[in-house]
C-alpha cells in the first residue's frame, strides 16, 4: 500500500493526470480544498485529517479519535492522507474492535528552499511558524543520503483504545532523523 501512495507521489499511478487527481483528494483530506479546487470542495478545517495530527476533541469523548497529543513534534509535514477506522476483520478468536489505519505522503520540514520565508518580527509567533524555515545544513544531510525528504507511509491495526498516535510519530521521526545523522546505535 505504501508503494501505491508512492506512485501517486511520483505521478505514476495510471498517468500524471490521474495521479494529480488522487493526490488532490489526499491533500484535501489533510488540508481542506484550495480555492481553485474542483467541486466538491472542502473548506478548512479539513474533513479527514491524519490521525497523526493533534486531537481536538476531549479525550474520551464520543468524538475523540485518540489522535496525537501534540507533545511529540512532527518533523515532517503531511502532504496528503487517507485515514480509515472500523472493526477489525472477523476472527472467531476475538471480538470486534475498532482499529485505525492510514496512508500518508510526507515531506520533511525545513529542507525545501522554496518554502523559505522571511520572518515577520511584528507577527505574533505561533507554534507552526518555524515549520517552513529553510535549514541548509539539514538539507545537506538529506542530499548526502540522496534522499529528497519526501516519503510515503502506511500503518494499520492501531487499536482505537490506544490513547494516542504519538508512537507512530516517534517511529517516523527517529527512523529518518537517525539515518541522516547516522546516530550511534544504542541497545
Amino acid at each position: 500500500m505504501a508503494r501505491f501512495f508512492l506512485k501517486i507521489l511520483l505521478k505514476q499511478l495510471v498517468d500524471k493526470q490521474s495521479s494529480d487527481k488522487m493526490g488532490l483528494l489526499l491533500y484535501e483530506a489533510e488540508n481542506g480544498s484550495t480555492d481553485d479546487a474542483p467541486e466538491p470542495r472542502f473548506l478548512p478545517p479539513p474533513p479527514d485529517p491524519s490521525f497523526l495530527t493533534k486531537e481536538t476533541s476531549a479525550p474520551g469523548s464520543p468524538t475523540s479519535s485518540n489522535r496525537a497529543t501534540d507533545t511529540v513534534p512532527r518533523k515532517f509535514k503531511i502532504e496528503g492522507v487517507k485515514i480509515g477506522q472500523g472493526p477489525i476483520k472477523a476472527d472467531p478468536d476475538r471480538s470486534g474492535i475498532d482499529v485505525r489505519s492510514e496512508g500518508l505522503i510526507i515531506k520533511w520540514k525545513h529542507i525545501t528552499k522554496d518554502d523559505e520565508r522571511v520572518k515577520d518580527k511584528n507577527k505574533v509567533k505561533n507554534k507552526d511558524d518555524d515549520d517552513d524555515v529553510f535549514d541548509k545544513d539539514l538539507r545537506k544531510k538529506f542530499d548526502d543520503c540522496k534522499l529528497t525528504g519526501e516519503g510515503t507511509i502506511c500503518w494499520q491495526n492501531l487499536s482505537n483504545t490506544v490513547p494516542n498516535t504519538d508512537g507512530i510519530i516517534e517511529i517516523i521521526n527517529d527512523s529518518i532523523s537517525n539515518f541522516i545523522n547516522q546516530a550511534p546505535l544504542t541497545p
Binding site: M1, A2, R3, L6, L9, L10, Q12, I88, K89, A90, D91, P92, D93, R94, S95, I97, V99, D144, C145, K146, L147, T148, E150, G151, T152, I153, C154, W155, Q156, N157, L158, S159, T161, V162, D166, G167, I168, E170, I171, I172, D174, S175, I176, N178, F179, Q182, A183, L185
Partner: protein
C-alpha cells in the same frame, strides 16, 4: 530478520520487479551510501515503540488485547539523474486464521 520481540522484518523488494522502470533502483543502492542502513534505525525505533507500549499492549500476539501494528515506510531518494527509493517493508495486511 527477527528481533528479540519476535517481530519479523524484511527489506522492501526491488521495485524494478513491479514498475519495470530502468531508472528505479533497489534500496541497497542508497542504503550502501551510509554505514548504517535506514532499516536498522527503523527496526530500533519500532522496537522502542513496542517496548514502551506506544502501540498498545505488546508483544503482539494478534489478539484483541495485543494487536500487531504493521508499518511500511518508503523514503524517496534520488541518485544523480536516476531516482530510487529506500524502504522498509512490513506485511500490512492482516489475514485471520480462517482465511
Amino acid at each position: 530478520m527477527t528481533d528479540a520481540l519476535g517481530t519479523n522484518y524484511g527489506l522492501m523488494p526491488p521495485d524494478n520487479s513491479i514498475d519495470q522502470k530502468p531508472d528505479l533502483r533497489d534500496a541497497a543502492i542508497v542504503q550502501n551510501q551510509k554505514e548504517v542502513p535506514l532499516q536498522t534505525y527503523f527496526n530500533k525505533a519500532y522496537k522502542d515503540a513496542l517496548s514502551n507500549h506506544r502501540l498498545g499492549d505488546q508483544p503482539a500476539d494478534d489478539s484483541v488485547a495485543k494487536l500487531h501494528v504493521p508499518i511500511s515506510l518508503i523514503a524517496y531518494a534520488k541518485s544523480g539523474d536516476a531516482h530510487t527509493r529506500v524502504g522498509i517493508y512490513r506485511d500490512e495486511m492482516h489475514f485471520p486464521p480462517a482465511c
